[in-house]
Amino acid sequence: MKTNLIALIAGVIFGLGLALSQMINPDKVLNFLDVTGNWDPSLIFVMLGALTVSTLSFRFIFKRDAPVFGAEFHITKKTIITKPLLIGSALFGIGWGMTGYCPGPAVASLGLFSLEGVVMVIAIYAGFISHQWFDKQ
């Protein structure tokens, strides 16, 4: 119960951050990726703000053996750079560049009643499910 409420609050803060930073504006994102055109470096500052807070806090959080509410930290133990990591990330970048949406802003844009956002989220789920299908082959 407590962890569900925390997840909701964390989600609201994340959504406010996406909106304030304009990550939620696909045109702004496309202008960031458009390095040879009308380049807008703002999103570097979004990463800078997010990484400053999280890199510092993670150092303290991981001094603990477990989270405040829960038995263990759910983090990946993978450390090797694999082909699926790089190919998947390259495909994600292509989709990001085609749309201006990564997954967080796509979901958050539903709060702006964006039809584009609805189509984007459905297409993302189609991509998730198709990967399960690829994996079974």
């Binding site: 803060i13 930073s21 990726l33 055109g37 993670f58 509410f69 989709g95 539903l110």
Partner: protein, 142 residues
């Protein structure tokens, strides 16, 4: 660079960093959005937190849009074919690559993961190359 907004970008980014820190410290979860989304394909009662986090994203954006003196104007006439194909690639790619901008670009890098640094450089470069091709070579977008 007439639309450069470093202050709101920094502050918004700091809020994202705060959210990621809260979810990790209290719940022990990494706020990688693609992972939180794809975990819902086979939902169980242990996954209610995923619905709530994603619902929170929507609520946060909604609140900002209602209260902001300068709300976001949604773009019009962007080709839906690009959204459908691109959205599919975002889903497939983040599932195959185990993460997106938040999972690799923020949580992973904050955790000093070499995998996440490699993934972030890869999707940034491929995104930039894609915009170059779509906008400047093919001329599909304005």
């Amino acid at each position: 660079m007439e639309n450069f907004t470093p202050i709101s970008a920094l502050l918004g980014g700091a809020l994202i960093g705060l959210s990621v820190s809260i979810l990790l410290l209290l719940n022990g979860r990494m706020a990688g959005i693609s992972g939180i989304m794809s975990g819902l394909i086979k939902p169980t009662k242990h996954h209610i937190w995923r619905f709530l986090f994603l619902g929170g994203l929507i609520i946060g954006a909604f609140i900002f849009q209602q209260l902001s003196p300068d709300p976001l104007v949604l773009r019009e006439n962007y080709p839906f074919s690009l959204i459908i194909i691109g959205g599919f690639l975002v889903g497939l790619g983040t599932k195959m690559g185990s993460g997106c901008t938040s999972g690799h670009g923020i949580c992973g890098i904050a955790n000093l993961s070499v995998r996440s640094i490699a993934a972030t450089i890869t999707f940034m470069l491929s995104g930039m190359l894609t915009v170059f091709i779509i906008k400047h070579i093919l001329g599909l977008t304005a």
